[in-house]
C-alpha cells in the first residue's frame, strides 16, 4: 500500500525540482543575481525529493491513524508549515561574498511552496478512490 504513496512522493518531488530549476533560470535572467552558491541543481533536486517523500510518509501515517480526518490534518499541516517556512529565506544571512542578498527571497520564497503544490497537484493520480 505504501508503494503508491512512495511513487506519489517521488513523482511530485521530480515535478517540484523541475519547477524549481525552471524558476531559478527565469529568476537569474530577470535579475542577473547569481545565488548558485546557495541554491544549486543538487540542492533543488534533493530538497524537493526529500520534502515530497516526507509528505508521503507523513500522509501514510496520518491516514493510517485517523482515516479521513488524517487527510484534513495533513493538508492543514503542510499548508501551515509551507507558509511558516517563508521566514527561512527572508531571515537567513547569506555569505558576504554573495551580491544582492535582497533579491534572494524573490528566488527562494516561491520555491518553498513547490513541494506542497506538486504533491497536492498529483494527489488525484495516486488516490486509490479514482
Amino acid at each position: 500500500m505504501f508503494k503508491n504513496h512512495f511513487y506519489h512522493g517521488l513523482t511530485s518531488g521530480i515535478m517540484a525540482a523541475l519547477a524549481a530549476i525552471i524558476y531559478s533560470r527565469i529568476h537569474f535572467f530577470a535579475t542577473q543575481a547569481d545565488f548558485s552558491g546557495i541554491i544549486n541543481l543538487g540542492t533543488m533536486i534533493s530538497l524537493n525529493l526529500i520534502g515530497c517523500l516526507i509528505f508521503s510518509i507523513v500522509y501514510y501515517f496520518f491516514t493510517g491513524m485517523w482515516k479521513k480526518k488524517g487527510i484534513i490534518v495533513f493538508h492543514l499541516l503542510i499548508t501551515i508549515l509551507s507558509f511558516a517556512a517563508v521566514i527561512i529565506p527572508i531571515s537567513i544571512s547569506l555569505p558576504l561574498t554573495v551580491k544582492n542578498p535582497e533579491l534572494f527571497p524573490g528566488l527562494a520564497v516561491p520555491m518553498i511552496f513547490f513541494p506542497a503544490l506538486a504533491w497536492f497537484t498529483l494527489k488525484p493520480l495516486f488516490n486509490s478512490d479514482f
Binding site: 544571512s93 547569506l94 555569505p95 558576504l96 542578498p101 535582497e102 533579491l103
Partner: protein, 174 residues
C-alpha cells in the same frame, strides 16, 4: 650680483628637495579591501571605502588618514537587515551618508602604529584611537565601536549588539 644668483638657486633647490624628501607617501586604496564589523547579530561589511592615505613609516608626523565609508554600502548578507540598518531607526543613511575618520596624529607602538583622530559617525564626532599594522603594503587594524556612544537606536539598547568589533584590511598601492 650675478655671482650670488647661482648660490641662491642652489640653496632654494636644496631646501625644496629637503621638503620633498620629508613629504609622506600617498597611497591608493586597492579594490580588494575589507571593512568588516562583527557584533554577532548584526555582522557584515561596508564596501564603499574611499579617502586619502598619506603614510610614511619614516615620517609619521606628516602622515595622515582621511577616509570615508559609504553607509549605504552596508551588507549584512540579508536584504531585509540591510534595509533596516540603513533606515532612520539605525544608521540613517539618508541623513548621515558617510562615516568619516580623520587622523590627527599617527604614532609608533610596540605592535605597530596607532592613529588618533576623529570618527564622525551618525552625526556624532568622537576622538578614537585606531591601532593598526602596515605590512607588505597592507593596512590592518581592529577597534571597537559602541553604537550607544554615537546615538544609534539608543531607545533599544538590547536590540542587537551595542559594541561592534570593526576589522579593517586595506591593501594599498603607490
Amino acid at each position: 650680483m650675478k655671482k650670488s644668483i647661482f648660490p641662491a638657486i642652489t640653496l632654494v633647490i636644496l631646501i625644496a628637495s629637503a621638503f620633498t624628501f620629508f613629504q609622506s607617501v600617498e597611497w591608493k586604496i586597492s579594490d580588494n579591501y575589507s571593512v568588516k564589523f562583527d557584533g554577532g547579530d548584526p555582522s557584515g561589511e561596508f564596501t564603499g571605502l574611499k579617502g586619502s592615505i598619506k603614510f610614511d613609516e619614516k615620517n609619521l608626523a606628516d602622515s595622515k588618514f582621511d577616509c570615508t565609508v559609504d553607509v549605504a554600502s552596508i551588507n549584512t548578507g540579508n536584504g531585509m537587515k540591510n534595509t533596516h540598518a540603513k533606515s532612520d531607526k539605525w544608521l540613517d543613511a539618508t541623513k548621515y551618508p558617510v562615516i568619516h575618520f580623520t587622523s590627527k596624529s599617527i604614532n609608533k607602538t610596540e605592535s605597530g602604529y596607532e592613529a588618533k583622530g576623529t570618527l564622525d559617525f551618525h552625526g556624532v564626532q568622537k576622538e578614537i584611537t585606531l591601532p593598526f599594522t602596515f605590512v607588505n603594503n597592507v593596512f590592518a587594524g581592529t577597534f571597537e565601536v559602541n553604537r550607544m556612544d554615537y546615538g544609534i537606536n539608543t531607545a533599544e539598547p538590547n536590540h542587537g549588539a551595542q559594541v561592534l568589533k570593526v576589522s579593517l584590511n586595506v591593501p594599498v598601492t603607490k
